[in-house]
């Protein structure tokens, strides 16, 4: 992994390498280098499979992190590429022409995080939510409990028990 990182660093301005496991590492890079790096990895280094494309909402820093996880089947290793986007008006270049499956991920991200991928097929169509009118639900400023209480009728009488304490009281009522 370190060797791969060194070789790539010679071509692209890359961030630090985070090695999670011997066969899994993450690299942070700028958004303009993503496409050339994906092509380089796919054609030169055997990362032919897009495992997933997902996002993290770093609301404190005001940005979204996109993670493109690639897999090298022959080398049995995974490499994640992290791209940071500004949270306001988040938009990213689509990669559906590299991996057609990316279109589905991008459609989901558009719906759940509100990250736009212009020119991605069907990106504006509803994916899981139908008729959603609030802010995208996976954003961290979306209050899911408040939304549920306002929109759905709750049945009264619901109680929540802490499982650990409840079982201790039930099984050992005399105490520790």
């Amino acid at each position: 992994m370190h060797e791969l990182h060194e070789r790539l660093k010679a071509i692209f301005p890359l961030g630090e390498l985070t090695v999670q496991r011997p066969d899994l590492a993450f690299i942070t890079l700028g958004r303009e280098h993503l496409r050339p790096l994906l092509l380089e990895l796919r054609h030169r280094h055997g990362f032919t499979h897009l495992v997933l494309l997902t996002a993290v909402d770093w609301i404190e820093e005001g940005c979204f992190q996109l993670t493109y996880l690639l897999n090298d089947r022959a080398g049995a290793r995974d490499l994640g590429l992290r791209v940071m986007l500004p949270r306001e008006g988040a938009s990213m270049e689509s990669i559906h022409d590299l991996w057609p499956t990316a279109a589905t991920y991008q459609r989901e991200l558009r719906e759940m995080f509100g990250i736009d991928f212009p020119a991605s097929p069907g990106v504006d169509e509803p994916f899981i939510l139908e008729g959603w009118r609030d802010i995208p639900p996976y954003r961290r400023d979306f209050d899911t409990l408040k939304f549920a209480e306002e929109n759905f009728n709750q049945r009264p009488g619901r109680a929540t028990l802490d499982p650990a304490r409840h079982m201790r009281d039930r099984l050992h009522p005399e105490g520790e």
């Binding site: 509803p126 008729g131 009118r133 759905f152 709750q154 619901r158």
Partner: protein, 213 residues
């Protein structure tokens, strides 16, 4: 609103142009009516007995609870010996098992399927998600009380209920049917406005007709 549901002008094969409003033209426009047990008592009792002994379940798993229905067909539990069978089409089914959590998107399909079933029809809510939301009590996308949207005859508690609990629930449902108390379809027809208002309150893009049969 989907494109194919919008009003449009169609040119027929004979060259005549005419307007089509799919929601009005392709669906029945009459609300469901209460269908009383109009037969003499003993006939109705015979029918109730037959209904109880021949329960056809709509094969539509709405949530994770559907996985608990599969073992019922296997040699270990074998629900067929109780007269329970699965039908692939709502037209022929009598029992709709809402198996687990019901997201708003699935609720829409569940309503359509339920309304296509024939009277008398029964709804069983399976698992705590259908009762009060269960572990999805604060979820933005699942309904919390099934009986606001469909007339539920019976709840089976648990997360998940085991197949044995399902079998016990079906026996209880049989008792209700035999006693003539499982009149969910008529309750639905009586309080149709109330059910529709509840349904429309959570389904924001209502792009189907109010009556789906």
């Amino acid at each position: 609103m989907k494109e194919e549901l919008e009003k449009r002008v169609v040119k027929g094969p004979d060259g005549v142009e005419f307007e089509v409003d799919p929601l009005r033209d392709y669906y029945c426009q009459s609300a469901p009516t209460v269908m009383p047990p109009a037969y003499i008592k003993i006939v109705e009792e015979l029918f109730n007995w037959a209904r109880a002994e021949s329960i056809w379940i709509l094969g539509f798993g709405t949530g994770c609870g559907a996985i608990e229905m599969r073992p019922l067909m296997t040699p270990r539990f074998d629900a067929y010996r109780y007269g329970i069978q699965w039908r692939p089409t709502p037209r022929q089914a009598n029992l709709f098992v809402i198996s687990g959590y019901l997201s708003v998107k699935t609720l829409k399909r569940a309503i359509r399927s339920y309304e296509q079933m024939q009277n008398p029809k029964y709804v069983v809510g399976l698992g705590s998600c259908t009762i009060n939301g269960g572990m999805y009590w604060d979820s933005y996308n699942t309904i919390k009380r099934l009986d606001d949207y469909l007339p539920v005859d019976l709840y089976i508690t648990g997360c998940m209920p085991r197949p044995e609990a399902l079998l016990a629930g079906f026996q209880e449902l049989k008792r209700l049917i035999r006693a003539g108390q499982a009149e969910g379809a008529n309750r639905y027809a009586e309080q149709f406005e109330w059910y529709k208002a509840n349904q429309k309150r959570v389904i924001h893009d209502w792009d189907m007709p109010d009556y789906n049969w």
